[in-house]
């Protein structure tokens, strides 16, 4: 079955970021397809490669990147939410005159249309948030 996942909360802030990851991983391991994971609101903070959690803690950002590499996942970050919170890729840095980018591997920045499309294309949309 084709699933789409929406994540509304940031890492280390609310369990939603962990729950979404565990659900996504379990679905993939059962052979389901994840059409897209869409990061919205504070959920965009899952996509910064500048996080350095303690070594004995889970690395939520790397965990997403690794899952994306393993299963060729489409991890999409909402552009408007990202701009507000300083989640930047090369294109956004150029467009907004920033001197750095911080988007983690496997993530891409795009618009809300990607969430709408995921809702249409996937058979189930599962939302994780506060």
């Amino acid at each position: 079955m084709k699933f789409a996942i929406q994540v509304n909360e940031g890492p280390y802030q609310h369990q939603a970021a962990d729950s979404a990851y565990q659900f996504t991983k379990a679905a993939l391991e059962k052979g389901h397809e994840i059409f897209r994971v869409f990061f919205y609101h504070d959920g965009v903070n899952n996509a910064t490669k500048l996080t350095t959690p303690p070594q004995d803690d889970r690395n939520i950002v790397n965990r997403w990147s690794e899952l994306a590499a393993q299963y060729d996942l489409d991890l999409v970050v909402c552009v408007a939410a990202a701009q507000r919170r300083g989640i930047v890729d090369e294109g956004e840095a150029k467009r907004n005159g920033k001197d750095a980018e911080n988007i983690a591997p496997g993530f891409r920045i795009s618009g809300l249309g990607q969430l709408v499309e995921a809702g249409i294309q996937a058979e189930r949309l599962v939302v994780f948030g506060d």
Partner: protein, 102 residues
């Protein structure tokens, strides 16, 4: 149309469980996740309401979230089934929609 409802708030903190139970139709399912698991505990104030809800819908609780909060499975009200993440995925797949009561 069967819907899987998810509730992730403790019923002793927020009223999302009450909202869900009052609006969920007969034959739908409820999965308690994150702090929502506190609604599944035996001997707590919500037990009568959960037992009543079990008459009209299937009730589930996420095992890993019970464990994360130090709650053993034998503390779960009879009639509420404990599932893992794979079980969560199965429930999402076997129902027509998934509705998160955030």
């Amino acid at each position: 149309m069967s819907i899987l409802h998810t509730v992730n708030k403790s019923p002793y903190e927020k009223n999302s469980l009450d909202s869900c139970l009052s609006l969920a139709s007969e034959g739908s399912a409820l999965l308690l996740i994150e702090d929502g698991i506190y609604a599944a505990l035996k001997g707590a104030a919500k037990e009568p309401q959960m037992k009543e809800a079990a008459q009209k819908m299937k009730l589930y609780v996420l095992g890993p979230d019970l464990k994360a909060r130090g709650m053993a499975e034998d503390r779960v009200i009879e009639g509420i089934e404990v599932v893992d993440y794979a079980g969560f995925v199965d429930l999402a797949a076997t129902h027509d929609k998934v509705n998160a009561w955030l």
